[in-house]
């Protein structure tokens, strides 16, 4: 590398022009006080509790307001989407043999069930699923009043 200083003489003279670029008059008189003000402001903020600093950040950083708004909207959207997915899962869990021609199929001897009752997500889903167990077939449950008396 042949760095010959004299080759850059005119460039150095030209670069000297930058030393004449000066900020507005009086700029440096106030700069240190602005810096110290900001330092003291940050010290005061640092002494505040967390929740107070968090709310204060809304005033200092408008972007924080936007970020929080986006976060809240995102959480709400996620909640709505999740609840819709739960509803769809409940409908999908109803066996296809239970719905015939748009009407819910019922066991022989049982009263017909309204469609909205079958598709409702608040009904127990597992109870409508037919079990392959042979013990579940043709079992009719009957409610009987039972009295227990003392002194028989």
């Amino acid at each position: 590398m042949n760095a010959q200083p004299e080759n850059f003489d005119r460039l150095k003279k030209l670069l000297a022009l930058k030393r004449h670029e000066q900020p507005p008059p009086g700029y440096f008189e106030n700069l240190s006080s602005r810096i110290i003000d900001r330092i003291e402001q940050e010290r005061e903020i640092a002494q505040l509790p967390f929740w107070r600093r968090f709310t204060l950040s809304f005033d200092l950083k408008p972007a924080m307001v936007c970020a929080t708004g986006v976060l809240v909207c995102g959480l709400l959207s996620a909640g709505v989407i999740t609840s819709l997915q739960v509803s769809n899962t409940a409908v999908a869990a109803v066996p296809s043999q239970m719905i015939i021609n748009g009407q819910p199929a019922t066991e022989p001897g049982m009263p017909p069930t309204a469609p909205e009752e079958v598709q409702s997500s608040i009904e127990p889903v597992l109870s409508t699923v037919s079990s392959p167990s042979p013990f579940d077939q043709q079992i009719s449950l009957r409610v009987q009043r039972v009295n227990y008396g003392f002194g028989n």
Binding site: K12, L31, I39, E42
Partner: protein, 218 residues
């Protein structure tokens, strides 16, 4: 570290050549810096205020020449000193406060410039009255047009445009050496590299600038 050692380290850190720019360091400044730094580390804001006053012009000038934008330089200078205050407890005195705060400002500026990539907007400071009377500058512009102030402003714009074409590290080396007058050793400490690297970067940066500004250097 004893005070004598600290003073010796600070003195050696500040022993750098001053090629052409006015980099006058007060004779007792290193000792004062140590005292002020100790005071600031104990929470004395007035001591830090004195340190800020001492170095604000040089820090601002460096950041300004790097960004070619007064507003950005103002913000970055303030942030550098605020960061310096919050990090003062970690300052061990291995280097001078001057070098240390310079390093903070330079790192902040380089990070800022990397984020701002391709969005450079110049907001140049006015030239002072002495520019029109600088014999070197007069020699550069007098043969081009009789309106010296207009020609100087154009030259200033071209020069800053050419500076912005350099990479951040090359711009920094030119700024610190050719504009601010720091020595290679001092630049090496600020940029955390050896003198050979500083020299080669400076040579390359000058070559680049010479090519960009060839019309004005004939």
């Amino acid at each position: 570290m004893s005070e004598a050692t600290a003073t010796r380290v600070l003195s050696s850190a500040l022993e750098f050549e001053v090629p052409s720019a006015q980099q006058t360091e007060p004779a007792l400044a290193p000792t004062h810096d140590v005292v002020l730094v100790r005071g600031a580390q104990k929470g004395d804001v007035a001591a830090y205020d004195e340190l800020v006053r001492r170095y604000q012009e040089r820090i601002y000038a460096t950041v300004y020449h790097m960004t070619s934008n007064h507003e950005d330089a103002n913000d970055l200078t303030q942030e550098a000193f605020i960061k310096g205050y919050s990090a003062l407890k970690s300052f061990k005195g291995d280097s001078s406060f001057y070098t240390w705060i310079y390093r903070i400002a330079v790192n902040k500026t380089i990070n800022f410039l990397k984020q701002r990539k391709n969005r450079s907007h110049m907001s140049l400071n006015d030239l002072d009255f002495n520019a029109e009377n600088d014999p070197d500058l007069v020699a550069l512009v007098s043969d081009r047009t009789p309106r010296r102030d207009a020609n100087l402003a154009e030259l200033q714009h071209k020069l800053n445009g050419a500076m912005l074409k350099l990479s951040e590290v090359h711009r920094l080396v030119v700024t610190l050496h050719d504009v601010q007058g720091l020595s290679h050793e001092e630049i090496g400490k600020i940029m955390d590299c050896n003198i050979g690297t500083v020299r080669s970067r400076l040579f390359y940066a000058r070559q680049q600038l010479q090519a960009y500004l060839s019309d004005y250097l004939k």
